[in-house]
């Protein structure tokens, strides 16, 4: 039998479908930690410069047992909690109002956008002048830091609500209040959540700045304390705790979002 010459066609974009095993993502982080530990063990860099992960863990454990960690954690959570709630509530309310009315939008938006880029840390001295050195200025800084991303996201959320949905609501008989309540609020919730997540990171960032103001307790104060003392291992405990807190905070908001927005 004589067969004609053949040219097979094969998949040229197989690389797009490449499957990566689950463990790869764990691999990266573990690899990094192991490498870090080895570098420290071999004394390639002095422990002051880069404490070993094991040393950090040991210290963290000690600090947990003595209660130091929790005491600081609670103080910070309290501040972040209150500041976050105040900033978020104000941000969402003002964002909804500003976004709905074109007039308030035109007037308030430029103000918000020009205040937003001011580094809050530069305002510390003024904030101390205005609010003293108690809990007020700390909560205020955090609330300020939370307010801006939330308000900006809320009103972009409001403006991004598909106008056809508003038209549909009006067509089917909604008055203005119901348009806000039944269309604009739920329609901007995804953007509001994006703002809340952004603000979660910002709030922890500002926690450190806030606790520069005469704080005796708090993770930020702890980090500053050990930074002042140059006890870098314990400093790293605080730093890692902050990053863990950031991760948890984000996950929590994600969970809440999934609960509140089942339609997404």
């Amino acid at each position: 039998m004589i067969t004609e010459p053949r040219q097979s066609i094969t998949n040229r974009v197989a690389f797009l479908e490449q499957k990566i095993p689950r463990y790869a993502s764990v691999l990266g982080i573990t690899g990094l930690l192991v490498l870090w530990e080895i570098i420290c063990r071999l004394n390639i860099v002095p422990p002051l410069f880069l404490p070993a992960p094991s040393a950090i863990l040991t210290d963290a454990w000690d600090m947990m047992i003595t209660g130091e960690l929790f005491k600081n954690l609670f103080a910070s959570l309290y501040r972040v909690g209150i500041g976050y709630v105040i900033g978020a509530v104000l941000g969402i309310s003002i964002g909804l109002i500003v976004g709905f009315s074109k007039w308030t939008d035109a007037i308030v938006t430029p103000i918000v956008y020009s205040i937003y880029p001011i580094p809050k840390i530069a305002l510390l001295p003024l904030i101390i002048l205005w609010f003293g050195i108690g809990e007020m200025p700390k909560v205020t800084i955090i609330a300020l830091g939370v307010f801006f991303p939330v308000v900006i996201n809320t009103f972009s959320g409001v403006k991004n609500v598909d106008p056809v949905l508003i038209k549909a609501a009006v067509t089917f008989g909604s008055n203005h209040v119901n348009v806000i309540r039944k269309v604009i609020l739920p329609g901007s919730l995804p953007m509001i959540f994006a703002g809340l997540k952004l603000a979660a990171g910002t709030s922890l960032l500002l926690l450190v700045s806030a606790e520069m103001i005469a704080a005796q307790q708090g993770i930020g104060a702890m980090v500053l304390h050990y930074g002042n003392l140059m006890i870098t291992t314990k400093l790293m405990v605080g730093v890692l705790l902050l990053s863990l807190l950031g991760l948890l905070f984000n996950r929590g908001l994600q969970w809440l979002e999934n609960k509140l927005l089942p339609w997404k």
């Binding site: 002095p46 101390i128 050195i133 005469a214 002042n228 003392l229 140059m230």
Partner: protein
């Protein structure tokens, strides 16, 4: 006199290489000997080109010295310095740069002028403002209250980050007492919103600040000794000008105005302000070696340093002794 010193300098100069030395320091009066040394050319006499590196806070100076960014650091001796040494960063304290001394006003605990607090004893359970944890202020407060049977657990220490913060908090009574140094004490008392409760110098002996060398520089013995010779000479110049006492009273010595003006120039402050706060210093720049041990022990007790360290590791008096020997008198 000046002539003699110059001869001594030149005598030991041999064919010494010209060295460029970076000195990390703050714009504070307590750096006076270094200002004098630079301004009056004492370092140049030793063929040393001393360059000032200005810092905003004490702690980075220690870090920079240990890391070799600057060869010489001159600032307060804080817990962070001990912790760095414990963490493997070597540096050595070689000379005095200011201490608390009985009979010389320098640091004090102040309370608002209308406060009911009259003695240190009454500070129990009160808020006391300091600059930062582990700072010299922290130490002084801790040690002074110990004299009255109190410990750090009995008071609330509030870190306020800056001198200005301390003064503002005292003014607005956000704290019950603060620790301050001269000339700020005079300012506060003059403006009438604060009163002195206790002079630190009357309570404890304390090596507040020092001159320290990076390990590499300390090993370079020749230059190190030359540096200290110039330093000691400047320290004497300072002592003779502003710390001489007659009948237990401070009197302006020779070159008083010159020294004040040099300090004023380097710290960007008014001479009148400078006159309020001239810290005590050893005439030869000698360290209170045993006080360093006291400090280490106290910090360790208060868990402000991580691991105990041996005083011998961080104090080097040999270099200065050698320099003094060469300097003579």
């Amino acid at each position: 006199g000046k002539q003699g010193a110059e001869e001594a300098g030149n005598g030991s100069g041999k064919e010494s290489k010209r060295e460029s030395i970076n000195i990390g320091m703050l714009k504070l009066t307590s750096s006076a000997p270094l200002f004098i040394g630079i301004e009056k050319g004492f370092f140049k006499e030793e063929n040393i080109d001393a360059k000032a590196q200005w810092f905003e806070a004490a702690q980075p100076i220690a870090v920079a010295t240990a890391g070799g960014s600057v060869e010489v650091g001159a600032t307060g001796i804080t817990a962070s310095l001990y912790n760095m040494v414990a963490g493997g960063q070597k540096l050595v304290i070689v000379a005095d740069k200011g201490r608390e001394q009985e009979g010389y006003s320098s640091s004090a605990i102040l309370a608002p002028s209308d406060s009911s607090i009259k003695s240190v004893k009454e500070l129990k359970g009160k808020k006391i403002g300091i600059t930062q944890t582990g700072s010299t202020y922290h130490y002084m407060v801790g040690r002074v209250i110990e004299n009255y049977g109190l410990g750090l657990d009995d008071i609330e220490v509030v870190p306020l980050n800056s001198i200005k913060g301390l003064m503002d908090s005292l003014k607005s009574k956000q704290v019950d007492a603060v620790l301050l140094n001269e000339p700020n004490i005079t300012t506060v008392v003059k403006e009438g919103y604060g009163k002195v409760i206790s002079q630190v110098g009357e309570e404890i002996e304390y090596q507040t600040s020092g001159v320290f060398f990076s390990p590499k520089f300390a090993d370079n013995k020749d230059v190190a000794v030359r540096f200290l010779k110039a330093y000691a000479k400047a320290a004497r110049y300072y002592y003779d000008a502003v710390l001489t006492k007659k009948d237990g009273k401070l009197i302006p010595g020779e070159n008083y105005d010159e020294v004040i003006n040099i300090i004023a120039k380097y710290t960007d402050q008014e001479p009148d302000v400078i006159k309020q706060g001239l810290p005590y210093m050893d005439r030869d720049g000698k360290l209170l070696e045993e006080n360093i041990k006291t400090q280490v022990d106290w910090y360790a007790k208060e868990k402000l340093i991580d691991k105990a360290i041996d005083t011998k590791e961080i104090v080097n008096t040999e270099l200065l002794e050698q320099a003094l020997k060469e300097l003579g008198k």
